[in-house]
Symmetry: C2
Subunit: 408 residues, 2 copies
């Protein structure tokens, strides 16, 4: 029985090419990971990652080291068989909790730890994370989740029922493993790319098999946003799905005005129009700009905030990210909530899609979510040991044991 | 013209007597402050504090040091004359912002910095913070605020108008300076105190002139909560205002049940019934338990969340804390919002009331808020250079220059 014998942490920083990763708010990113490594005597090592833009790395590492010690000595199967209780214990730590609760840096630290636990679990079983997850029974899945503070919407019994109802249709959807999961290209139009660059990138994306892509908006001059949005529409064609991402840069009144001005280029969604805590603001916006949908989640901290967005009908595409909420466990809790609300889960990929390529397969097969598409950001491919493989716009199903989170 | 020449940081930790400060969630607190010191050539030093329960101190200190450097060389009056823009610049830092935004540890770091700026401003003018604030014009006050993401509820013009409308009645309310501001006793019933201790404390509080006090609830056994609530009511008398504080320990269904069971002892409010991000949950609860009011804010991170709670009618007593939101500046922004919604501001005092004794005077005199009462926690009195003076249940108006944030 593999046991966690030793825990180490690490920081990985990857400078980007000029302009890559820039948006209306994040003008100077240094893509970074704070890594938790759970070592076993048998030399199997679980790796968990959480993402930043280059600030706060040392501090998050220090938080992980403060929080993770109770896992030393844990038997992996025992730990994961009741991971929900363990997650709750870590999230409700009587002193660390003050720093959130359930949000900001202390929650990022928890995410790194949680993701390492799932990676280790899959590696010790010798299977990819998606395979481990789809083979769990409904009860086993729910035992890995902390559903507290969701009692008004999703009890343990509700969650098990929801999983069981989906069991019948599973054979059909399992073809996804062979086909792979569709991707979309998020890198055609970072905010500081020139018009020429964007047009080139659209052509390249279409040639590479993508029929869905995302443009950054939220420029100081709205005319620039509008011009570029129509430019992308023209270059990509009327059939392509084009998403527009404002990265929270608009006030609510400006979000309403600008979204309406962009409506006739038929955006597939408007992403992060305004401040990500503003449930009521997004509710108002959703009513104003329907049928254009709102996508958000990149900066939504936890399952309670997601519950609020869903209850308020303030979100149409749930972009929960397992490197923002408390890791894989809370990602699944949010995905269950979204299933109840019949909302698609389209993760933001702080992990560059490495872990999420597993999770969207689970969401499709075990929860019955549509296989819409998964964001693809190629900039860090060369740094991962098993980089996500995207061909003809399709994520090929990963076959290596674990969650594909190891670096070279 | 005083200029910030050098910046230092510090950590202060104050262990408590057994049982002090314990509640249903925070069972083992070590009251701590992470301190920002803004030094000038003239040996005047601005002190800003932010509060934790003992974990995360080093990490917050490190965040402050990463964020604060642009203030070196700033002229104090220039800095403060447009502090709103500076606050926004710090809060929207293109890399640090990822860690929130506007929440958790990065926001606590900002609060410590902001509070130091206000303390320095008052000290260089040689006046207590309350005096500095009430002497500002409406325009000058609003120039210290970042009202972005509030445009749907409180524009710059709205805020100035609101302040101007209150100017007429100011003479009348200024008697508060001589009388002092009422306090309430929050320390009669920490969760791990015995029944005998609680009863003794109630008697002592009444003898000390308090007619308002708070009991911790949220015990594992609800019967204990109910028994102790009625016990306090009996000991304090029917006239006393008794507040019940669950510190987020209930699920929404349990909050509804338990609040209803406690209704007949006439609590003045129910505080932090459930998870503090749950706007819709508190909205439901507010409807269910009316006319009992809900108090919250201790863990509400920023002005956008407060806006949501107010819009949703999910809060009755606004417990904004300048050591939780981004310091004095955001405290004032939230107080303006609350004034618009006609909701009382009754701060949670992570600062032990040291800064808030200034801010509630400002809220009463300049914003026209009722002088309801201010939480009083005596445990750290001896550590402050100018501890808040509470006599006959009344906060005496502080006279020393600054925000009363210096330690001995």
């Amino acid at each position: 029985m593999p046991t966690i014998s030793r825990i180490t942490t690490d920081i990985k920083k990857f400078p980007l090419e000029a302009g890559d990763g820039t948006d209306s708010i994040h003008t100077d990113p240094v893509y970074s990971y704070i890594v938790t490594n759970l070592h076993t005597e048998s030399s199997i090592c679980g790796t968990g990652i959480v993402f930043t833009l280059g600030a706060g790395n040392r501090e998050i590492r220090s938080l992980i080291e403060g929080l993770v010690q109770p896992l030393v000595g844990c038997d992996v199967e025992e730990l994961m068989s009741e991971f929900g209780a363990r997650f709750k214990q870590l999230a409700e730590h009587p002193r660390y909790r003050w720093l959130g609760p359930h949000k900001g840096m202390i929650h990022l630290a928890l995410a790194s730890i949680t993701n390492a636990c799932y990676d280790l679990w899959a590696k010790t079983r010798g299977v990819p994370l998606w395979k481990l997850l789809i083979d769990l029974t409904p009860e086993q899945i729910v035992d890995t989740l902390d559903l507290s503070y969701l009692e008004d919407e999703l009890t343990r019994e509700d969650a098990i029922q929801l999983l069981k109802e989906n069991l019948a249709g599973r054979e059909e959807s399992s073809g996804i493993i062979e086909k792979g999961y569709p991707g979309y290209d998020t890198s055609i139009g970072w905010i500081s790319y020139s018009d020429e660059q964007v047009k080139d990138n659209v052509r390249r994306a279409v040639d590479a098999g993508f029929d869905a892509m995302k443009l950054k908006v939220g420029s100081p001059e709205t005319e620039r946003d509008i011009r570029r949005a129509y430019m992308v529409r023209e270059a990509a064609g009327v059939e392509a799905r084009v998403m527009l991402d404002a990265n929270q840069s608009w006030s609510l009144p400006k979000a309403i005005r600008t979204s309406k001005a962009l409506a006739s280029m038929s955006p597939f969604w408007i992403e992060e129009p305004t401040q990500p805590d503003d449930v009521i603001g997004h509710q108002t916006l959703a009513r104003e700009i329907a049928p254009i949908g709102i996508a958000l989640g990149e900066h939504v901290s936890n399952r309670v905030m997601f519950k609020n967005f869903m209850q308020a009908k303030a979100v149409d595409f749930v972009q929960v990210d397992c490197t923002r909420v408390g890791g894989v466990s809370e990602f699944i809790a949010v995905s269950l909530l979204a299933r109840k609300y019949n909302l698609p889960v389209v993760p933001h990929v702080g992990d560059m899609g490495q872990i999420h390529q597993h999770l969207v397969l689970f969401n499709h097969i075990s929860l019955g979510h549509d296989a819409l598409f998964l964001e693809h950001i190629p900039h860090l491919s060369k740094y991962f040991l098993h980089p996500a493989l995207v061909e003809d716009g399709i994520y090929k199903t990963p076959q290596e044991p674990g969650s594909s989170s190891d670096f070279v």
